[in-house]
C-alpha cells in the first residue's frame, strides 16, 4: 500500500473538519455582527458567495498543507479522524439549524 493515500485521506478529513467548523463559526458570527456580514457582501457581492469561496480555499489549502507536512500518522488515526468528521458534520447541521431557529424567534 502506498503510504501517501491514507495520509491524503487523513489530510482531507482534517481539512473537512476545519472547513465545517469555519462555516458554522462564520455563519453565526456574520448573523450577529453586521460589519462582518457587510464585509462578506462587499468581498464578492453576496455573503454566501464569499463563504463559499473561503470554504473551498480553506479546504484546498488545508488539505495540501497537511499532506505536504512531514507528519507521520498512525494507522489507527484514520478511523478516529473519520469518526470525528462524521460527528462534527452532525453537530454542524444541528448547531446551524438550532441557531437559525433561535434567531428567527429572536432568542439570540
Amino acid at each position: 500500500m502506498s503510504n501517501n493515500k491514507p495520509k491524503l485521506v487523513i489530510s482531507s478529513a482534517y481539512a473537512s473538519i476545519i472547513t465545517i467548523v469555519f462555516v458554522v463559526v462564520i455563519t453565526i458570527w456574520a448573523e450577529l455582527s453586521v460589519p462582518l456580514k457587510d464585509w462578506l457582501k462587499i468581498f464578492s457581492g453576496h455573503h454566501w458567495t464569499s463563504k463559499s469561496i473561503f470554504s473551498v480555499l480553506l479546504y484546498a489549502v488545508a488539505t495540501i498543507i497537511l499532506y505536504v507536512l512531514p507528519n507521520k500518522h498512525g494507522q489507527d488515526r484514520l478511523k478516529t479522524i473519520l469518526e470525528f468528521l462524521l460527528v462534527i458534520t452532525l453537530l454542524g447541521v444541528i448547531v446551524i439549524t438550532l441557531f437559525f431557529t433561535g434567531h428567527h424567534f429572536q432568542i439570540f
Binding site: 493515500k5 465545517i20 473551498v56 479546504y59 473519520l82 458534520t89 454542524g92
Partner: protein, 214 residues
Amino acid sequence: MLSASQFILPARPFRVPRIGTRSEFRSSYFKNTPPIFYQQNWSVYPVWKCYNCLVDIISLLQSKPVLIGIHLGSAIVGIDAFLWLLGKLKDNSGSQKSRIVTAGIGVIAFIASWIAGGYYYVVYYGTIVKPVIKSGVAPWVHNIVMETKEHIFLFIIPLSVTVFFITLLEKDDIDRLKIRNIVLWLSGGIAVLGLLIGAMGFAISAAARWGVIN
C-alpha cells in the same frame, strides 16, 4: 399601400447585441436575422451564427427553470452515486475503478448542483423569491429552512471529496485499516444530507407557491 410582408418581416434587421448578454432565454422569429454588417460580409456569417448560438446557450443556462433543473438533477445524481457507493462498500462488490468512478461522479454532480444552485440563489432568489416567502403565510421558511439549507450545503463538497479519496485505497487496505463501517456511515451520511437539503428545497418552493397564491 400596406403589404403583408411588412408584418411578417422586420422593417430593419433585428440586431443581436454583440457584447451584452440577455438575462433570459427568449425565442424570437427575428433573432436569426443577421445584422446588416454580416449580411454584407457573408464570409463572416458563420462567425455571427456561432456567436448567436453561443449567446442563446448561455442565456438558456442562465434561465431560472434550467438552473433549478441543473441544481436538482445534479443533486439527485450525486445522492444516487453515494448510495450506489454505499451498496458497493457494504457488499464489498465492484472493482476499485468502479468505486472511484462512482465517487467521482458524485463529487462532480454535487459541484454542478452547487454552482447552478448558487447562481440561482445569488441572482434570482434574493430579489424574486425571498420577498414572496417573507410576505407569505410562512416567512419562517426563509429564516430557518433556507438559511440552514444554504449553509449546510457547504459541508457536502469537502465530505464527498474525502470519500472520493477513500475510494483510492485498495479493498484490502480498507479492511486492514478497519474503516469499512465508518466509510459506510460517511457515504450514507452524504446521501442523507443531500436528501435533507432536497426536502428543504421542496419546502422553500412550496412556501413561494403559497406566497404567490395568498
